[in-house]
Symmetry: C2
Subunit: 537 residues, 2 copies
Amino acid sequence: MTLRTPDDSFHVFDTTLRDGAQREGINLTVADKLTIARHLDEYGVGFIEGGWPGANPRDTEFFARAPQEIDFGNAQLVAFGSTRRAGVPAQIDPQVTGLLDSGAPVVTLVAKAHDRHVELALRTTLEENLSMIADTVGHLREKGRRVFVDCEHFFDGYQANPDYAKQVVRTAHQAGADVVVLCDTNGGMIPARIQAVVRTVAADTGARLGIHAQDDTGCAVANTLAAVDGGATHVQCTANGYGERVGNANLFPVVAALELKYGQRVLPEGALAETTRVSHAIAEVVNLTPSTHQPYVGTSAFAHKGGLHASAIKVDPDLYQHIAPELVGNTMRMLVSDMAGRASVELKGRELGYDLGGDRELVGRVVERVKEQELKGYTYEAADASFELLLRDEVHGGAAGTAPRFFRAESWRTIVEQRPDGEQVNEATVKLWAKGERIVVTGEGNGPVDALDRALRAGLERIHPQLARLNLVDYKVRILEGTHGTSSTTRVLLSMSDGSAEWTTVGVGDNVIAASWHALDDGYTYGLLRAGVEARD
Amino acid sequence: MTLRTPDDSFHVFDTTLRDGAQREGINLTVADKLTIARHLDEYGVGFIEGGWPGANPRDTEFFARAPQEIDFGNAQLVAFGSTRRAGVPAQIDPQVTGLLDSGAPVVTLVAKAHDRHVELALRTTLEENLSMIADTVGHLREKGRRVFVDCEHFFDGYQANPDYAKQVVRTAHQAGADVVVLCDTNGGMIPARIQAVVRTVAADTGARLGIHAQDDTGCAVANTLAAVDGGATHVQCTANGYGERVGNANLFPVVAALELKYGQRVLPEGALAETTRVSHAIAEVVNLTPSTHQPYVGTSAFAHKGGLHASAIKVDPDLYQHIAPELVGNTMRMLVSDMAGRASVELKGRELGYDLGGDRELVGRVVERVKEQELKGYTYEAADASFELLLRDEVHGGAAGTAPRFFRAESWRTIVEQRPDGEQVNEATVKLWAKGERIVVTGEGNGPVDALDRALRAGLERIHPQLARLNLVDYKVRILEGTHGTSSTTRVLLSMSDGSAEWTTVGVGDNVIAASWHALDDGYTYGLLRAGVEARD
């Protein structure tokens, strides 16, 4: 399969910064938008729709700063806006002037294509709507801008009044729009219908067509591909499918399908392997946990759990994977779970450098311990370091804490106090034994877990100065039974780094502090193990 | 559009309990499986695949108990298993006997349809694989079972060796299988190809076909619909799309599309309106947070945020929704967010019973307060009660705490102690003023937040006995900056109930305890407001 190099004949158009930002829970600052634009440009999309300049100060600022602060290598910046108001010449409509003032070389104009929307939402005549499109496109073209027209509610409009919907496409096309984008704004379409409509409209109007699909039927990716099957050569997507209501067509599976299933190169060479990294980086900027089950890029996308699969994968991984995960920058994982049984534990052990193949009794003990711990609320699927400590215990003869540890806690206490003067104090005291020495140390922090972490670290650093390099890099809390209020079981996943590697541990307890203590204990133990410190508590 | 009543001519086949349970993070007990089976039967699916009896004790127990403990109204129970082993007669293969022993009236047999899998994973000849299928189907039919055959890796196999793949279908069909299910086991397919292959195989073999799609390209729902377009009359799905790797075709959007987009009734009358409830109930049983962005049933699926949309929705909600949310048991929501601006705040106010339409200055102040609070990490999209308290403050003249409150905290303190003897103590002391009285009270609990809740409630109950009815029903913790370790901002969402209504409040702080305090404060304040208590601190 030879891939063509991307050129203007096919557009990957990203609207994360405009339509994606409509997702419930997303709230982007200008700095966030600049960071995301950098990621998208590096990834290699052709167009980045940055927002609606003039409509809000944040977007205006973004368009002023982006060309200064970003050295675009692949993408062109696109301003989104609306056709002129009814009865007002495009030349003096301040909203249209705002689009020109933004300096963006490309403008996407949203236009009404559904007769009922023209009458009810826009409150003008069908004829005036066509003039608004023609005038605004013409004016922007005269000023040297490239223009794409988004036909809002196109598919619903086509169902209600196909002649008018096509007239909107023709008008935009004849006025000089380079691409006319058919939008499934309410997201109610299914692929078969999308393909049929795109094919007919392309034949009847002669316009270059694009697709903008919302995901309300769970078919946005397929609808986008169906439009390409029907002749569309411009796809509008958002990173991770962020967008209003359910979301938009997800950029990553659309691009991956076009490159890996259609054999059409739509990104610069080598970019596809950055997919997982870019997806996670953007999730981090918008402050949403990356979906673990997102196609291609989720941490579960190439994770194998079933015992049946695990044994077959020992033969050949390709038997149970539709692509090699490396193509999209992801990796295969074996999950440790009581469903998987012995084959998974063996594979996981091998991944961690322990060859358990010869010792059936040991593998059986590990499977049993994992089952017991899972019943308590532990999960080792994400917590490799805690699983390795468990494995190490069993290799040293079994039962929790059998393998030598570096320290042992005698007791600990945290106090959080809100004082009458408004000051808040967080304090933790830890009493522990390390190398035969009893250490009592108190730490303060931003909260009880932070204070506990500082106290434990301060105490251990006296004995093990190597700890100075360790850093807490991520911390997640999960309440395990959502319907029992605050008295549920709490699970904490905690990630530490020593600068060169990162590891995750798990702790479970009646409350967040007890659970965090267990995860901290495992985290520092694993860190000392990695540093090659000799164990003795 | 008239819907046909469901009968055997179209099968909705659910495999949540078997394939769905392969999802990373899911671990079902027998009790969980029974509860889910009850939900699915009430929802009206035709077939419930319960697991692999004989392969593990949990599934064997499920098949023993389900017919005793569930009064199935719509569904038939299906046992999943494999064709006989190579070289062993079906009559004496213990795995096949286990399927019969389960007592299930229907059996789904998994069969290899990909020549390479037969040779590498099954390690037998292509001919013996066909005999294994024919013998096992024949034996189960003789024993009075209805048989479906799942052709594993069918589409990949068809690509590699279409003749052999079709021979597998013909063999199963001729041996007496009622439905031959084409499986996209690795999930790598896209709809156009699925439809073409299903159509050809149906024409070439004469078998009744089904579809089983995994979601690795993000197209499982569309692939399922494409197979129906191609002639399949049996769809295998899982609730919420749970399943190995990315997951399976999601039952809910598949059923909703068939009923609402294809006009084909596939559930009993009235069942579709239970979709949202059933989806969330099953998520609760498997202990996964329901996806807020799931098509049709997510809390965001009919949530409107954009200012443009919010103003249009004031005209007619149907302009921006592909279906009426009530059809699937969901509801429209207006989100309060700084992007939405005045129109949303007005609509939300109206939803809560405050008519703000006439007071532009007041709406402006509310929008400003929401923006300020969102910068600190607050979010009101899910926390209606906290938003109403904010609104109430502004209606009373502005600024936090302007509206009369029921109590005021002077100070509080929590202690969590792990003692040397292993005992853990969680204690909270609260000093507060209510009705001019100073109250000092201490509570113990399972954790610091539980202790704080008990102390606050004990103190307030002395003055306001109405509080006895209030219950904490949900508690969620979110760390806002994932890369700053435990010193990040923490947001808590807390839901309380008084038996007749439920409300959610939000609190933000440097740590989980401070954040919880704010959410508890709002929660009890709102509860007292609802109880009609006169405010005075």
